[in-house]
């Protein structure tokens, strides 16, 4: 069995993807599994068609990598791959749609509204912003409805900053998710497996100097991580239960990372789903794996072998 890792792509998160791909390759090769990294380009489809005894691991972050597109391509050519299927990925990629789905399954998530840029033009930005501030209390999280790595994300603590946050968000996409910011403990729970066999790894607690933005995520120093998170038994159970509920309800497969805020009442409020979580030196999934006592390469090997056998 060989592994082809797809990394790079054309999204805003290309740089993160390349670094993730490189690290996964190194871990697999340390385990004696031949792995190569390939970008998504015009040479890809002929290569996929020619593959034998190969499983693909899509590690493209952002659009095309996490929105189901690359998964659909792999399904079209019947190539086994690690990760969530295309239809489930497409639902998970659009944050407001994902929130609606898992909220219906009883998972808590902060209140939100989704608004396209066109609405601000048609109705008038001033009126829409006023309506947002009437409905929600500060602080608010403004984020692209489709995206990752905190690109285009702003924490709004003052009314005067809301307009700027919307502009920043719309630079990355035409649909904004406006979400009530919840104070609490930020925890990322990684899940492995599928359906009833899925299991949650220990949560990783994120304590950040300032906003948990792109710089904080990918440059060591500003964030202090606790893996496992400093939670009591009830809290640990709450976050794990929420993560598993999301993973199963959304039909996610093999691996995912569910981000949440544990609020002051001990309720896990899910804020984001990642079906191709980052695997860089500062990423949360590898930290969770190490906290669980697994070896990273060993888990990666299990993932590729499991996908290959499907």
């Amino acid at each position: 069995m060989k592994v082809m890792i797809l990394a790079g792509g054309l999204s805003h998160e290309r740089d993160v993807s390349i670094r993730s791909g490189r690290r996964v390759r190194e871990e697999l090769e340390d385990r004696g599994i031949k792995a190569k990294v390939h970008d998504v380009d015009t040479a890809l489809l002929p290569i996929l068609r020619s593959l034998e005894d190969t499983v693909v691991w899509p590690l493209l972050h952002g659009v095309s990598g996490e929105d189901g597109s690359i998964q659909a391509l792999l399904e079209l050519v019947d190539v086994p791959f690690v990760g969530t299927g295309s239809r489930e990925a497409r639902v998970a990629w659009v944050k407001p749609v994902a929130k609606a789905v898992f909220a219906r399954a009883g998972v808590s998530t902060p209140d939100y509204v989704t608004l396209p840029q066109s609405l601000f033009r048609e109705v008038g930005a001033k009126h829409v912003l006023s309506a947002i501030l009437s409905k929600f209390t500060l602080p608010l999280m403004i984020k692209p409805a489709r995206g990752g790595s905190a690109l285009g994300v702003s924490l709004v603590t003052e009314k005067a900053s809301l307009s700027q946050a919307m502009v920043h968000c719309f630079a990355y996409g035409d649909m904004a998710l406006i979400e009530q910011a919840i104070p609490g403990t930020e925890v990322a729970v990684s899940v492995i497996g599928h359906g009833d066999k899925a299991s949650a790894l220990p949560g990783v607690e994120i304590v950040c100097d300032g906003p948990y933005d792109y710089d904080a995520r990918y440059n060591p120093g500003r964030v202090e991580y606790f893996a496992p998170a400093r939670l009591d038994a009830d809290q640990a159970s709450a976050v794990a239960t929420a993560a598993l509920a999301v993973h199963r309800t959304m039909g996610l497969r093999d691996l995912s990372r569910i981000d949440m805020i544990l609020d002051s009442e001990g309720v896990a409020q899910v804020i984001d789903i990642n079906i191709a979580p980052g695997m860089t030196e500062t990423s949360l999934f590898p930290q969770a794996v190490e906290a669980s006592g697994h070896e990273l390469g060993e888990l990666y090997a299990q993932l590729v072998e499991g996908a290959f056998r499907r």
């Binding site: 790079g8 054309l10 999204s11 805003h12 998160e13 290309r14 740089d15 993160v16 390349i18 380009d41 840029q117 601000f120 033009r121 930005a125 790595s149 690109l151 285009g152 307009s163 700027q164 919307m166 502009v167 920043h168 719309f170 630079a171 990355y172 607690e205 304590v207 933005d213 792109y214 710089d215 990918y218 440059n219 060591p220 120093g221 500003r222 964030v223 202090e224 991580y225 606790f226 893996a227 400093r230 030196e281 500062t282 930290q287 190490e290």
Partner: protein
Amino acid sequence: MTHSDTGGTRLDPWLGSYAARAHNMRSSEIRALFAVASRPEVVSLAGGMPFIGGLPLEEIGEMMRRLVVEQGEVALQYGSGQGYEPLREQITQVMALEGIHAHPDDVVVTTGSQQALDLVTKIFIDPGDVILAEAPSYVGALGVFRAHEADVVHVAMDEDGLVPEALESTLTEVVTSGRRVKFLYTVPNFHNPGGVTLSLERRPRILEICRRFGVLVLEDNPYGLLGFDAEPLPALRSMDEEGVIYLGSFSKTFAPGFRVGWALAPHAVREKLVLASEAAVLCPSNASQMAISSYLEHHDWQGQIKKFREQYRERRDAMISALEEFMPEASWNVPDGGFYVWVTLPDGLDAKSMLPRAVTARVAYVPGTAFYFDGSGASHMRLSYCYPTPERIKEGVRRLAGVMDAEMETIRIFGSGAHEPSSTVEFPSPDVT
């Protein structure tokens, strides 16, 4: 993973050990966006990469083969810390084209002129010292100055380059405030990123002002031979041997991959530069230097520069024509040489904020904020025409116009005050300097 007393980890066991100057060294999402610029689908108007395809690569390949076969034991060995003597002699002949008369002993060969810039800064700058630089200034220089904890004060330019009156008033202001100005950093020809050239009339005036204030001039001149029409203007160094340190490079007139540049400095400065260079790299690459020396000796390098000029002129024309067609609301200079057009966006637009949208539209540029020490300059962008074909340049500007239109739409919706000036200073990667 090293854990702190709290039980957590910041994923960096050396966090408490860095020098204070290193704490500001950060990648940013803007820098990460440039990772996309290398993809063929993206028209990159960002990088200052010379058009290597214009070189006679087969001949150069044969030249290098012969170099290794016939002189490999020297070429592949350590060499002189000051640089390969025959090349230093040839460098004086290159500089003579811009009026500089120099002795090979005053030339220090470096690993790119970027290293020369770093060495000069290292030997002159203490933390807090002031460096004057044009507004805007070369991003690679700003990075060096920042790394050495200098304070950069910008001096205004116009279509004729650095403004002497602005230089004088800035010097007066800084000196009066009790701070020490160590040198003026200037790119006098086909400025990166401004595209302008310091006029002949202003050159002696700039030198006189600096002399009067006791300020050294650091003249960085990678583009001086790449003017499209006129003969090269006399270098500042040709007018003042003791007050100017001259930096030269083969990156644009030949190829950057060899990493060969040089500093021409007064005797006492040169001695310190050699010591500093030896401490940094032991010696510049013998192989690269001997390759360039062979190229200068056996090939029509001046004819090649003429070819480059025509290739870059064609590209410049394509860019200006495309700007006129697709972006008439913006304004720009028309450079007479070099690689860059400096664009001023319509009111309210922010080149840095626009970059994610540009990446989605598959076009890249460098926001003006990269070229100011304090991160201002958001209403500008640098467009490079040196590398893409004229057709790609036109397509890139067309895509950029679409980005600008979308951004203007956002401004219309949310108002021009919705862009907050960024205080984050960017460190663009080398391929966009």
